[in-house]
Symmetry: C2
Subunit: 411 residues, 2 copies
Amino acid sequence: MRKKLSRRQILTGLSGVAGVVATRPLLAADSAEQLSLEKIDQLLASTRQQGWAPSGLGQRSAFESPQRLPLYNIASGTPLQDLHGTITPADLHFERHHAGVPTLDPDMHELLIHGMVDKPLKFSLADLKRMPSVTRVCFIECSGNLNIRAGEKTTPQQLSGLTSQSEWTGVALSTLLNETGVKGKARWFLAEGADAAVLARSIPLAKGLDDAMIAYAQNGEAIRPEQGYPFRLLLPGWEGNTNVKWLRRLEVSDQPFMTREETSKYTDPLKSDKSRLFSVVMDARSIITSPTYPSVLSKGWTEIRGLAWSGHGKIVQVDVSVDGGRRWQKAALQGPVLSKAHTRFTLPWRWDGTGTELLSRAVDESGYIQPTRRQLIDSRGLGSLPYHLNCILGWQVRSDGQVLYAAEPWA
Amino acid sequence: MRKKLSRRQILTGLSGVAGVVATRPLLAADSAEQLSLEKIDQLLASTRQQGWAPSGLGQRSAFESPQRLPLYNIASGTPLQDLHGTITPADLHFERHHAGVPTLDPDMHELLIHGMVDKPLKFSLADLKRMPSVTRVCFIECSGNLNIRAGEKTTPQQLSGLTSQSEWTGVALSTLLNETGVKGKARWFLAEGADAAVLARSIPLAKGLDDAMIAYAQNGEAIRPEQGYPFRLLLPGWEGNTNVKWLRRLEVSDQPFMTREETSKYTDPLKSDKSRLFSVVMDARSIITSPTYPSVLSKGWTEIRGLAWSGHGKIVQVDVSVDGGRRWQKAALQGPVLSKAHTRFTLPWRWDGTGTELLSRAVDESGYIQPTRRQLIDSRGLGSLPYHLNCILGWQVRSDGQVLYAAEPWA
């Protein structure tokens, strides 16, 4: 929440955040710096020549080149450490697929809804775009979003880059099910994609009637191919693979279909002799995005920043520790705080030059608190690796200012 | 607001929005359509070949090519009719400049704050990024955002495309003024840009201490060159030119500087013998974005969509008329409704095939109601053309389904 300073506070210096930028001496504007004529020319160059004409599509500055980080052949991570706010640029949204990104013709591709419905129907993209629309901002996260082999020299992108946020627009699935009608015995539906993996998941009908959406727009324009063009299933707060991309078919049924992606994969063996299936909701999580590896800090003020989110609803609190977990302070949350959405947290911190560890801990509206690694292992065992690893993460600050991931081996 | 259907409602068909897609008969899934082997191959092609591998930067689908529309050499408009939700993709954000887009080196460019301050200071981009950050979603609009020569065959982009919305991140100007301190007599500051126009505006200090921001990030990443890279002044709700791009200098003073852009330009001659200077706040406005030219409607259900916004705060209501202004209905507003931000409105409408006119009218939290063209001219006269033309706009629906802008000559 923005701290608003009154004129009086500024004039009398009582704002309480004076000296925030004491990190390095700012060049006083009236210091006796001699500028060479060459430097003056450089500084004035932009005022002496016509700039670029208007264009049909903008470009990034040549001085900025954010990139996703491809991971084997199956994913690419968002550069969390380079981003601000809560929206992920569409071309930096993480990817995860099992057989590459298909090219689908929006004039040929259709969504079929059939099975235990009154009236099976097919919908084209044009049909979906004409129907009553809904828009919401929410995150998507891969359930395997923690690099369990990460060493010290690991960026947030490399550690946990398989999560991004967009403003999604589409048609509520309940609207479509209202067109087809649903038979009384129905309890589940299969969602199937048109990629070469033909990824399929069984979804409880209750979620389909709740906040499920068939999304065709991402950050204001057509959804991107890597995110499912021409449309995908969007299940706010649920693990990434259930948000089936390149959606082609929904088959309504009275039972789950027990596909490969919910039996062989994406189930969590527990400490007991049982496995948890359909562990679909992404539990509360937070990650510091700055300062992290490869930042180098100077003594003095900086702002600790990060993202927190929960598939169960809103984040209500994020605690940050600057002393390895001994004491915790509440970070500020950037409003408006949305349900099932990346929430930006910040905490001003004055580093005194001694080595320490930075941690963040999220609390969501259900009261759930992001667990420590020890709590996670004790409660679930190690069999559920590498899914749903939402434990607290640490960043070491060395006395020379280098920041490193506080890596701990998992097995 | 999303209408949530219960299982009971769907099963008993009592949702009340049945038949929304009665516009054309959907292909029933069990109809006796014979598919040729060739068509089957086409439909299955995406499941039989590996798709694209993960990439560092995503691309739009080849089937989607949204574009800005350059206007002479001084602007380009956002394709409002092709967009959804409220976020404008960064490379489609409108442009407006007076001498082209400069290329600035973030390692050389600095922001100087001087004048009636205790301590003049210069800030680099790195300094600004290290300071306490704030993030907000808000619109920017050019004060001249209405094409007064538009004829019938005019898209929203051509009519009114000089408005866009981003999630902006930066440092609050009040934080910077706290570093410099401000002298007791100060009441204004000059904001000056580093482009070849060296555009400069005088801003009341009160706005600088309120919600003014030095913005360096746009939709999560570095601000774009066309929007002011490496940083700009952001004054939520104020006319576009005051949000000085490529910001290089703020000079604090006790009086306005009376620059060209606030005397020769951007002042509004009134019906009296007086002119209004510093007409900085963008009044409430709305525009239908669909259906508009060049849509062609079919009889039956469609969804009327548009955007509404106000520089004075939140939109509280948008009324839509489907009969040329005789009767008005409240449209649904997509939440969360934010202050000084584009708000998406929607209204389901069943077209009966007869010619008519569609209108939208915004109301903001101050109680201000978007005026008719007649009201605007009667109260302000025509001398203020072409600035701040925020009147109600109409779209003609012909009986053959063609939609055209309901153009009216201004002079």
